[in-house]
Amino acid sequence: MSTKWQQFKNSYFFHSFIHDKVAIVSFVVLVMLVVCSFSAPIIAPHDPYDTTTIDVLDAETPPIWMEGGNPNFLLGTDAQGRDILSTMLYGMRVSLLIGLGAVFLQAFLGVVIGLIAGYFGGKLDSLLMRLADVQLSFSTLMVAIFISAIFQAFFGINKYEELAVPFLIIVIGLAEWPQYARTVRASVLAEKKKEYVEAAKVIGFGSGRIMWKHILPNTLSPILVISTIQVANAIMSEAALSFLGLGMPVTKPSLGSLINSGFEYIFSGSWWITIFPGILLVILILVINLLGDWLRDVLNPKLYKG
């Protein structure tokens, strides 16, 4: 185990990480955010899901440093009297969960389709890639609005509130797979012409083994890079959907639905309900994108910066 760690410490990856201040700061912030959001039930001062602890009389309490602030509510409360800080922590957990889940689904679909299209080529390739083109020509929001309208019509609002998280994962996952499929296909096309693939055929390996064990590992770096960007994108898609009222219900808010719920009060002076979740969302997306940029520079030696 110590040798693995030693190897990692000596690697170019680690070296370029500790010499990039932006990467370190982004990484630390991201880790902090992730840890805080997933330990929300422990560290959050209030439980926004527990309606018995919420008092409407506390509604729209301003942050603690403003006049009328309540030391119980560090960043104030929203229109229902929920503590903003706690709700944000819980909300970020939901956002991250949906973001990661959607990216796993996208990656799975995209990688499988991209590998098959790139490796077998021909008519199958044309068919799958045209499918991707069609999918890309609908915006994520359009697809999501369409599907969620159907879903809500069939199952009713109550059911929807229960299934909102898996539903959003599926919608965002289904809408964005072509990004992966195209990237993977392009790399597979380049890789499959290399002699090691031919050598693997000569050895007598089947197509599945060549695809998964030989070609896929060689296409991992572009997959990793777009994954970071796609996590940020998925979180933003979710926030946008929630903001439009099609995402997470107000009872289980994500960052997007929090921003939305505060938006009505922004002109009546209660700006904190929208602004704090907004800042958190911006920071979260920003650090993920900065880390993604750094990762792309490290994994693509052709992009060395001077």
């Binding site: 050598a199 000569v202 050895i203 390996f205 590992p217």
Partner: protein, 319 residues
């Protein structure tokens, strides 16, 4: 002795948009167990296509249009994909030109070696690792146990080609097809690799088909030679006979073109002209436009292989 491999009237065509190209025009040769043969010719003569067609791995527009490839008594050119997979890498191995490219850059040598074994034989991972270590020892890789955990980029070019050879040895094949195995290596490493290959073929009693344009390499390694031109075999025979007494004008040209130490400072001989494009092969003998001995008949009738002395030649000069 029963033949290990017999290629009979093998025809390979490529279906292109502009029409069908004939890359191999009915070639015949055979190999006894443990026998080593060289396939020689210029670029584009069809040597590599011949090698690949034996294991039925010609890339897409190409296909076997006729003939038989009889390996251990069975016509493997008619095998389906699954049957063929049990032959490839198991009974017939192949070594490629460029060892930088044939090893997967993201898998360790150990993974690539054991994977080959596990794909073909019923055995545990530990047994496979043991055989892999054995094979690395055979190709003189020092401290094979630690080497197994390394990636291809941690090896030099010559070592990589030795690892490729070790991989081809894993399943103790009956036949190795080596497609220009030393072209990407420098001369000293070339000699080292060829010596190794020769030694292993003799020790393990493996047949070898050496595809190359380097007559020097062939003369030191093989027992017989088939010279190819424009998808045909134009001369076959014992290596010694062909090197010392070539019959076909093309073979004579190839041998004259070899650099020789006692003729320092002289210009190297060149066969005039270039190999014809496969879609416009001249009528009659395909070599006649470049031939210095051509007669009228050469542009009209294509000569077939006939026994001359101890070998076989396709040339009207010996009719």
């Amino acid at each position: 002795m029963d033949k290990l491999l017999e290629v009979k009237d093998l025809v390979v065509k490529f279906a292109l948009r502009t029409g069908t190209l004939t890359a191999l025009n009915g070639i015949n040769f055979s190999l006894l167990p443990g026998e080593r043969m060289g396939l020689v010719g210029e670029s584009g003569a069809g040597k590599s296509v011949a090698g690949f067609s034996i294991i039925n791995l010609i890339s897409k527009p190409g296909f076997i249009a006729g003939g038989e490839v009889i390996f251990e008594g069975e016509d493997i050119s008619k095998y389906n994909f699954e049957q063929m997979r049990s032959i490839r890498g198991n009974k017939i191995s192949m070594i490629f030109q460029d060892p930088m490219m044939t090893l997967n850059p993201v898998l360790t040598i150990g993974t690539q070696m054991t994977e080959t074994l596990l794909a073909h034989k019923q055995m545990s991972k530990e047994e496979a690792t043991e055989i892999a270590i054995e094979c690395l020892k055979k190709v003189y890789i020092p401290s094979p146990e630690t080497r197994l955990k390394q990636y291809p980029h941690e090896f030099s070019g010559g070592m990589r080609q030795r690892i490729v050879i070790a991989i081809s040895l894993l399943t103790t094949p009956k036949l190795i097809i080596a497609d220009e195995p030393t072209t990407a290596l420098d001369v000293t490493i070339q000699a080292e690799i060829m010596d190794l290959l020769l030694e292993l073929c003799i020790k393990e009693k493996m047949g070898l088909i050496l595809i190359t344009h380097d007559l020097g390499v062939v003369s030191q390694t093989t027992q017989k030679i088939a010279v190819m031109y424009a998808g045909r075999i134009v001369e076959k025979g014992k290596t010694l006979d062909i090197i010392t007494n070539p019959k076909h004008p093309y073979t004579q040209g190839l041998i004259k073109a070899l650099p020789q130490t006692h003729k320092k400072g002289e210009k190297l001989y060149q066969i005039p002209g270039i190999m014809p494009n496969l879609n416009q092969i001249p009528s009659g003998c395909p070599f006649h436009p470049r031939c210095t001995f051509k007669k009228d008949i050469c542009s009209q009738i294509e000569p077939s292989l006939k026994s001359v002395d101890k070998g076989e030649v396709a040339c009207h000069l010996y009719a």
